[in-house]
């Protein structure tokens, strides 16, 4: 049983001169789930990328604390899994090859059997040897889930989690969030009211938009 906390203090992001959000403060502890909402362009996806460690904030800071130790910026990738619309996998490889490659690059030992298990979970086992290029958008969404849970992350960042998914796919996401490891944290960025059930608390980014106008 691990203990993971995320602390966000006065976080600010601007693109060139455009302010996306400012003065963002919140804290999540092990086992908690949070919904992020806001209008189109309010910065939900931007926040997810920052928290995944792939985009730098403009000011303020955020920190993951794993078992009372700060997680280095460079090692965030080991504890987070991200699913989002702008995530693109290597479409010249098959689903199986993608996952196998990710496991190897992450340097985690995984047998082919374990990889097939994950493919079964997301419902792609039958198509595992087809190139990702030939996938439908819903299937692409499913393979993103597979890549996000491959390394059994503590932090799950879901941006528009149910986009392109059919009923069966939505049920999978319901189960995933519901049964997510009890010591982990889940952040869901969405505008779909049906997704609000995934978390206890809601942060609306519209409230952090105009803060700087003084």
């Amino acid at each position: 049983m691990n203990k993971i906390d995320l602390i966000v203090t006065n976080l600010k992001k601007t693109f060139n001169r455009r302010l996306v959000f400012d003065g963002l403060n919140f804290e999540i502890k092990s086992g908690e789930k949070l919904i992020i909402t806001g209008k189109n362009g309010s910065g939900k996806s931007t926040l997810m990328k920052i928290l995944a460690g792939v985009l730098t904030e403009s000011a303020g800071f955020f920190q993951y604390i794993l078992n009372d130790k700060k997680v280095d910026r460079e090692n965030i990738y080991q504890i987070v899994g991200l699913v989002s619309p702008y995530l693109v996998l290597y479409d010249e490889f098959t689903a199986f090859e993608n996952l196998k490659l990710f496991a190897r690059i992450r340097n985690i030992k995984m047998s082919d059997e374990e990889i097939n298990q994950i493919l079964k979970k997301v419902g792609l086992f039958d198509r595992r040897n087809d190139l990702v290029r030939t996938y439908s958008s819903g299937m692409k969404q499913r393979i993103k889930y597979a890549s996000a849970i491959l390394h059994n992350p503590l932090v799950l960042l879901l941006d528009e989690p149910t986009s392109n998914l059919d009923l069966d796919g939505k049920n999978f996401v319901d189960e995933l969030v519901e049964d997510f490891r009890s010591d982990g944290i889940v952040l869901v960025a969405t505008n779909e009211s049906q997704d609000f059930k995934y978390g206890q608390n809601i942060i609306n980014l519209d409230n952090f938009h105009n803060i700087q106008v003084k």
Binding site: K49, A52, G53, V54, L55, T56, E74, N75, Y77, V80, L82, Y86, L87, V88, L89, Y90, D91, E92, F93, L101, F102, R104, I105, R106, N107, S147
Partner: protein, 220 residues
């Protein structure tokens, strides 16, 4: 170490399927070498001209091929997944390894073409030439990789590469030409000791600086 190898392995298998870089590279080499061959006709240019022409072809083929590593990730939108599965240093070193293999491959082809097509391209001190070949390829791969990372994040991509690459690679190319000339004249390696020390320093500086600045470039 394993991570670096598997990032290299990913690019390598991807290259085998997609041929992002290798086709452009081989085409360029064929066009450049045959242009030189035809324009020379039966005339024999002085030996040292061949040393210059050799590295000029290497330089431009490096520019046309080695930038693909990062640009293709960025264009296809896959840099996000890459940064989600590995830390920046492994990514840089994996890409560097790939470019290193690529430049060794293409440079060996260029060397063989030159030896086969131009009788004047006669290396008398192979020790000297091979050492320059090794250190030169290392330096070209290191600087091309970091420059490719920079332009993949910029908006003007294609045109920016030669502009950035030229001043960075110029001292390297100059040294390589001097050493190659000396190797063609059969001079002992000691004669170009200073040039070799410049090469070694250049390689060390390039790789160290790249590792230090890469994560800043990579995360925007």
């Amino acid at each position: 170490m394993k991570k670096i190898y598997y990032i290299f392995y990913k690019d390598f298998s991807s290259e085998l399927r997609m041929r992002f870089a290798i086709n452009a590279l081989i085409m360029f080499v064929i066009v450049a070498v045959s242009t030189i061959l035809f324009s020379l006709g039966s005339e024999n240019a002085p030996q040292n001209v061949y040393a210059g022409m050799f590295w000029v072809v290497v330089f431009f083929s490096a520019m046309s091929g080695l930038s693909r590593t990062f640009v293709s990730e960025e264009e296809r939108g896959t840099s996000l997944i890459l940064s989600l599965i590995a830390n920046p240093i492994s990514i840089f070193l994996g890409k560097f390894l790939f470019n290193l293999v690529l430049i060794f491959f293409i440079n060996s082809i260029i060397t063989m073409l030159y030896m086969f097509l131009f009788q004047e391209f006669l290396i008398k001190n192979w020790m000297s030439f091979l050492l320059a070949f090794l250190l030169g390829n290392f330096g070209i791969a290191a600087s091309s990789t970091i420059i490719a990372a920079i332009i993949s994040k910029a908006n003007v991509k294609g045109t920016l590469y030669p502009v950035l690459a030229f001043p960075v690679l110029l001292p390297l190319i100059l040294m390589l030409i001097e050493i190659t000339k000396s190797a063609m004249e059969g001079n002992p390696i000691n004669d170009v000791e200073a040039e070799f020390l410049v090469l070694v320093s250049y390689d060390v500086i390039m790789i160290t600086a790249s590792i230090l600045v890469f994560d800043i470039i990579w995360r925007d």
